[in-house]
Symmetry: C2
Subunit: 241 residues, 2 copies
DNA sequence: ATCTTTGTTCCATGACGCGGAACAGTGCGG
DNA sequence: CCGCACTGTTCCGCGTCATGGAACAAAGAT
């Protein structure tokens, strides 16, 4: 019952629908009457919304999701630093954390005419081909790095690094510089520079700036990203101090 | 089963816990074994998280909540305008929509040393004592206004307007000016100016700037808020045009 | 050390979730 | 205009699994 409801709701990942009843049946493997009854129940609870034949995730989930402490608290204290970074660069700014072998984005702010990127708030991407992901991976347990490098590296663009050794040297470079670079590995034509956020010696998050390749100027961006990451690290350590 | 799970999750509103099992039992009215079993199930699904004796809302809800189309789409197209408004003012910027007799906040951005406000992303406040709420109410059906005015107006501060006639004239003023003012009605020491966002003649959202009373300069803020609201209106109407 | 509160396990009962099947509504193509 | 295919909805008998009282264990409190 609960598990079947979770099947339905999870079938909206990663892009949120909308889906018709028969599509949900196909995606979940539930029987038609069961899916029908459950979608009706979920709609009454506000977890789904129905317009005509189309089901979408419901507003109640938005309210609950915004309260999730592990996400909300970090996002809240990070926001001023993300704003600083945006104001300094006027490029797309990300905040992300690690979840298993993926990065989950907690925040993503941008201005007008923002270029397309696969990153979404609440969405996940591989650690291996994103700026935020590489910053997190470079400062995680060596054990995790080995696990990631030992399996095939997912490819998002023709420029995605899929050779483990090449990725390893890239990670080693960020370990010495404290900055992760990513060039067209997640989206064609866009490069990215990221820095980890440390609390008690472990990288708990990372933030990044994504820039169209044409106007990618690492020398300008690096100090801004590093400054924001250090500021956030300090804020997380010391409370409001 | 589903309903009881919803009882548990909803009992985390409005501030997200954490709660112990016995607190959840008290908040939901469920029996102890049932609550125990359901929290275990919800934890397996990632809808709750447990650290020691404390339950919190889980990361899966954050992922699902971020996908809710009715919230995500509006937030996404509004963000650049909210950034403009923040950059112009460096004060707390809100985006909200109406949900019943409340306003629900979709976005809330701020810088360092932000003052305290009761508004939270995903949280709701009365339409009657918030800038965003008054902007929405002033441009809704007269029927809704009458319904709101006919019942006792909730009070958040000593300055909250609780006299229906006083609120009515305030709403009439915003109808002619296109701007809603709120002075210490939601939080002591903070004033707010808001403007509605129109699509096809109806106010679908509103955005606002909240400012410490000491440096509240309406003449500076009004054009910025109005400009952002008009820009967002146009963007919602015309797509990317 | 005793009492109180909280968390966990067990189990007999029966409520209700389940899905096959049959029906109704919708849209498409001939 | 009619039939066909598909989707959505209702029905209902079966059997599963959720339910909560009770008893037990663990953790604080006095």
């Amino acid at each position: 019952m609960l598990e079947k409801s979770a099947l339905i709701l999870n079938s909206f990942l990663p892009d949120g629908g909308p889906y018709r009843l028969s599509e949900l049946v196909a995606r979940t493997g539930l029987s038609k009457p069961t899916a029908h009854r459950l979608t009706a129940d979920l709609t009454r609870l506000g977890w789904l919304e129905r317009t005509g034949a189309h089901y979408r995730l419901g507003a109640k989930l938005f309210e609950l999701g915004a309260l999730v402490p592990r996400r909300r608290d970090l996002r809240e204290t990070a926001l001023p630093f993300l704003q600083d970074l945006f104001e300094a660069t006027h490029e797309i700014v990300h905040l992300g954390v690690r979840e298993g072998l993926d990065v989950v984005y907690l925040e993503r702010i941008h201005g007008h005419n923002a270029i397309w990127l696969p990153s979404r708030i609440g969405g996940s991407l591989p650690l291996t081909c994103t700026g935020v992901g590489k910053a997190l991976l470079a400062f995680s347990d060596a054990e995790l790095t080995e696990r990631v490098l030992s399996q095939p590296l997912p490819r998002l663009t023709p420029y995605t690094i899929t050779d483990p050794e090449q990725l390893r040297t890239s990670l080693e470079q960020t370990q010495v510089s404290g900055l992760a670079y990513e060039e067209q590995e997640a989206a064609k034509g866009v490069s990215c520079i990221a820095a980890p956020v440390f609390v008690a010696g472990t990288a708990v998050a990372a933030l990044s700036v994504a820039v169209p390749r044409a106007r990618f100027r690492p020398a300008q961006l690096a100090p801004a990203v590093r400054t924001a990451a250090l500021g956030l690290s300090r804020a997380l350590r010391g409370g409001t101090r």
